[in-house]
């Protein structure tokens, strides 16, 4: 009964597209099957759902900073796995009038939509590791749903492997765009905005500190207000260089000459000469951030509280976050080439402080912000006061 009540309230929080009761296969229904089909990978053991686990808000469930893929699941990746939830609201990459890079998919924004985004995992050596479109098409042709695939995309879709792979990417995109489980808007904070529950005193304090420009100033990049009738998504789709410490758990970082510089490469290539953008990564949504096993683009942090500590103490206590040189001086921004450390955001709240100054948030205030961020977890049940993103996932795969 409690679940029924929660579901009823959740449905009233945000109108969601309904699904056709027609049994005919659709791109979206095919996308749901492809999403969980490990047979499409070189290893036969990795699907989209392996890293983007629906029950964990479409993000990873292990603690690895980066996941490994390939034929033997032993090729390490370069970046942490992002959640796929609320990605349907993302927008193609562009430069705003003031020159701010905005939008785009992947942490460096190099894909302009979910169709383009779906291409990389199918062929990347450290992910599903198919060598080419023909390999993907051949595997698609062997699936149990190949008949439905032909029914939707045409009997001769496999005559052109590139077309078959594009059809699979389109199906995945359709699934992510149409399925409400990717955008349930049923967190405690959504209930709060709807006036159906009240946040606790600690959560409200945390919300205050989150928004306040004299405290966390988090809302500067993670807006918490509705825009155009849409509940807040806690991202402004821009990019920032936070100077996150280098993560030596990423094998690629063993090479001191290797730097992942986001917008300007090495994975993205079209902005390689935009030196001022080096080190910038996309601002992610904070919805479900309390369920993340890894935080930031390089997965350096595994604990939400510690990540917030880093935000507010990076500049007041750099010795806590960066290795010390022989003289005991913290090597700030050690995951950015030395000549590009000026690119690190050092002007906005809460980074505008110096050693010896008080951090923007006290230890208690950090606890408050963590309490608030936990209200952004999907699948809130007002009857029990608990949240679980798995509540948004149907018991059997469906679009």
């Amino acid at each position: 009964m409690a679940v029924l009540t929660a579901s009823t309230i959740a449905a009233s929080l945000w109108s969601m597209p309904t699904h056709s009761v027609d049994e005919s296969p659709t791109p979206a229904s095919l996308g749901a099957k492809i999403f969980r089909d490990a047979s499409l990978s070189a290893s036969g053991q990795m699907s989209c759902a392996t890293c983007h686990v629906p029950e964990n808000a479409h993000a990873q469930v292990n603690d690895a900073s980066v996941q490994s893929g390939g034929a033997n699941l032993d090729v390490p990746g370069f970046r942490a796995v992002p959640s796929l939830r609320y990605l349907n609201f993302d927008i193609p990459f562009f430069f705003a009038n003031d020159g701010t890079p905005t939008g785009g998919f992947n942490r460096d924004g190099r894909a302009n939509d979910l169709v383009a985004q779906a291409e990389r995992p199918l062929t990347a050596a450290h992910e599903m590791a198919n060598s080419d479109a023909a390999t993907v098409a051949a595997k698609l042709a062997q699936t149990t749903y190949v008949g439905e695939f032909k029914q939707v995309f045409g009997a001769d879709v496999f005559n052109d492997p590139d077309l078959a792979m594009l059809a699979a990417e389109y199906a995945l995109s359709s699934y992510e765009l149409s399925s409400p489980q990717f955008r349930p808007f049923d967190s405690k904070f959504d209930y709060f905005l709807a006036g159906k529950v009240m946040l606790s005193e600690q959560e409200l304090r945390g919300y205050y500190f989150f928004n306040s420009q004299q405290k966390g100033g988090c809302a500067g990049c993670h807006p918490s207000t509705s825009v155009g009738g849409q509940p807040p998504l806690f991202t402004d789709y821009t990019y920032d260089n936070l100077g996150v410490p280098r993560n030596m758990d990423i094998p690629a970082n063993a090479d001191p000459a290797y730097f992942d510089m986001g917008l300007c490469g090495p994975e993205r290539t079209d902005l390689a000469n935009s030196i001022d953008l080096c080190g910038q990564f996309k601002v992610p949504t904070l919805r479900n951030v309390a369920t993340r096993k890894v935080i930031f683009h390089n997965g350096e942090f595994h604990d939400l509280r510690r990540a917030i500590e880093f935000y507010v103490q990076r500049d007041t206590n750099p010795e806590k976050w960066y290795p010390l040189d022989d003289n005991g001086v913290p090597q700030k921004f050690n995951d950015v080439p030395p000549l590009l450390t000026r690119n690190v955001n050092q002007s906005e709240v809460p980074y505008n402080r110096h050693p010896g100054e008080a951090p923007a948030l006290s230890e208690d205030e950090i606890d408050d912000v963590v309490a608030f961020l936990k209200t952004l977890t999907d699948g809130y049940d007002p009857a029990t006061g608990t949240a679980d993103p798995a509540r948004d996932v149907p018991t059997s795969p469906q679009p």
Partner: protein, 457 residues
């Protein structure tokens, strides 16, 4: 048939009669006589044209704001020196019943503590038109360009500030419909640079009364022999659904940040205004007005609106009172205004910690004195002035739980001292110094030195 038409017909008949009579004279005498008559007709035509233009201008000047008293000095009762009444100067005739008018302003601001922020700006260039369809009906419009260049990548704007049709039902009352100025305060309807003292418009009538404040709707106006002018209207209103708590704009001007300017305006909730002005004593005006209406605009139910919006029933009420006295070369004015916005508690709860929640109340007042100290010839004059303003755009906020509410903003105080030099009544050069008690870089509040050029025609 109008008097002009009758007069023109009579002239034509007289000419025909004279020409007929000329058949009995010799040709040379007749030609001389006809030439003389032609010249006279041409002169009369010019006179008729001038009369029409004057009549059109008079129609344009039908007041919504206090009329100048009949025997007022050269300074209009509710405007600055050299101004017309209720509108810019009569303008330039461009055709039958049509006049064009305009004004413009170029400013230079030099913050004394932040000289690097000194700025010069073509603040606005305005072209207006008036067309009288007949003796009782006209259309009136004002088109404005702000900040010199307007494009998607520039800061300028192009605006229609006024566009309405007006119909006089009788000599002293009528109705108008369209986009019109709200008749509150001393400045909103008289915002041309020759009409106010100082390079910039006063803060109270920008921050509290959001000049230039216009809404779309229908209004009635009129005046009595006793000298009482009145205005009543039903219009669109601001849209609280557009409030941005992360922006400084609402702190600069609560209503200015959510006005709609009849730009695809959400119009679920009508607003009402009323204004009274007494002008029965030459050189003296006292008046006031109220604007009120719900400003939630049914946001929670509107297409594209926030379904969780908790302030559909929020109501704005803004009231003001003013007085102006112009004895001889002196010009004294005072104004007080206060606004309230109801039902903001739940909305501000969702904005907790944001820099700009919705205020529960806001107010402002000023006193001003000016003296036409020097005059040259018939039209040039130097008018030093001083103005003292106090205003608060966040005088109070609805309370929030656990002491997390927003404290009232500090009241801003501004002294402005300077002078307007009128080369002629329609061209003004300005200089002033402004002293603020609180600096606010985001709102450009800080002691500064200003220069300005303004004109109107």
């Amino acid at each position: 048939m109008s008097h002009l038409t009758i007069r023109r017909a009579s002239l034509a008949a007289a000419i025909l009669a004279l020409v007929s009579t000329g058949a009995h004279a010799d040709d040379a005498a007749l030609k001389t006589e006809v030439d003389a008559l032609k010249a006279e007709v041409a002169a009369l035509k010019a006179e008729v044209r001038e009369m029409r233009e004057y009549r059109a201008a008079q129609a344009t000047a039908t007041p919504t704001a206090p009329q100048p008293a009949p025997a007022a000095p050269t300074v209009a009762a509710n405007t600055g020196p050299g101004a017309g009444a209720g509108m810019p100067n009569p303008g330039v005739g461009v055709g039958e019943g049509t006049t064009l008018w305009g004004y413009g302003q170029i400013d230079y601001n030099h913050p004394t503590a932040h000289a690097a922020d000194a700025q010069a700006d073509l603040t606005r260039a305005v072209i207006g038109f008036n067309h009288a369809f007949d003796d009782s009906t006209r259309v009136y419009g004002e088109l404005e360009w702000e900040h010199a260049v307007a494009s998607s990548s520039d800061s300028g704007e192009v605006e229609v500030e006024q566009l309405y049709v007006e119909h006089a039902l009788a000599e002293n009352y009528g109705v108008r419909a369209g986009l019109m100025l709200i008749p509150l305060g001393l400045l909103n309807e008289h915002h041309e640079p020759t009409q106010y003292y100082g390079v910039e418009r006063n803060f109270v009538e920008q921050a509290i009364i959001p000049s230039t404040w216009r809404e779309g709707g229908v209004a009635g106006y009129g005046s009595t022999e006793f000298g009482l002018a009145w205005n009543l209207g039903i219009t669109t209103g601001p849209d609280l659904g557009n409030w941005d708590p992360s922006s400084d704009e609402g702190r600069g001007s609560p209503l200015g940040s959510i006005h709609q300017e009849l730009q695809l305006a959400h119009a679920h909730d009508p607003s009402f205004f009323g204004a009274l002005n007494y002008n029965g004593i030459p050189g003296f005006n006292v008046g006031g007005g109220v604007f009120t209406g719900k400003i939630g605009q049914a946001t929670s139910k509107s297409t594209g609106g926030d379904p969780n919006f908790p302030a559909d029933d929020s109501r704005l009420t803004l009231a003001e009172a003013h007085v102006r006295w112009q004895p001889g070369p002196f010009d004294f004015a005072a104004l007080y205004t206060r606004g309230t916005i109801s039902d903001t508690e739940k909305l501000n709860l969702s904005f907790l910690g944001q820099p700009t929640p919705v205020p529960k109340s806001f107010w402002g007042s000023y006193v001003q004195g000016a003296w036409r100290a020097l005059e040259w010839g018939q039209s040039s004059s130097l008018v030093p002035f001083a103005r003292f303003e106090r205003f608060n755009t966040g005088a109070s906020y609805a309370s929030q739980p656990f002491g997390l509410g927003t404290p009232a903003l500090p009241t801003e105080r501004v002294w402005t001292v300077g002078a307007n030099y009128y080369l002629n009544p329609n061209v003004v050069f300005k200089i002033d110094y402004q002293d603020f008690n609180h600096d606010d870089v985001a709102l450009s509040y800080g002691n500064r030195f200003d220069l300005g050029i303004g004109y109107q025609f």
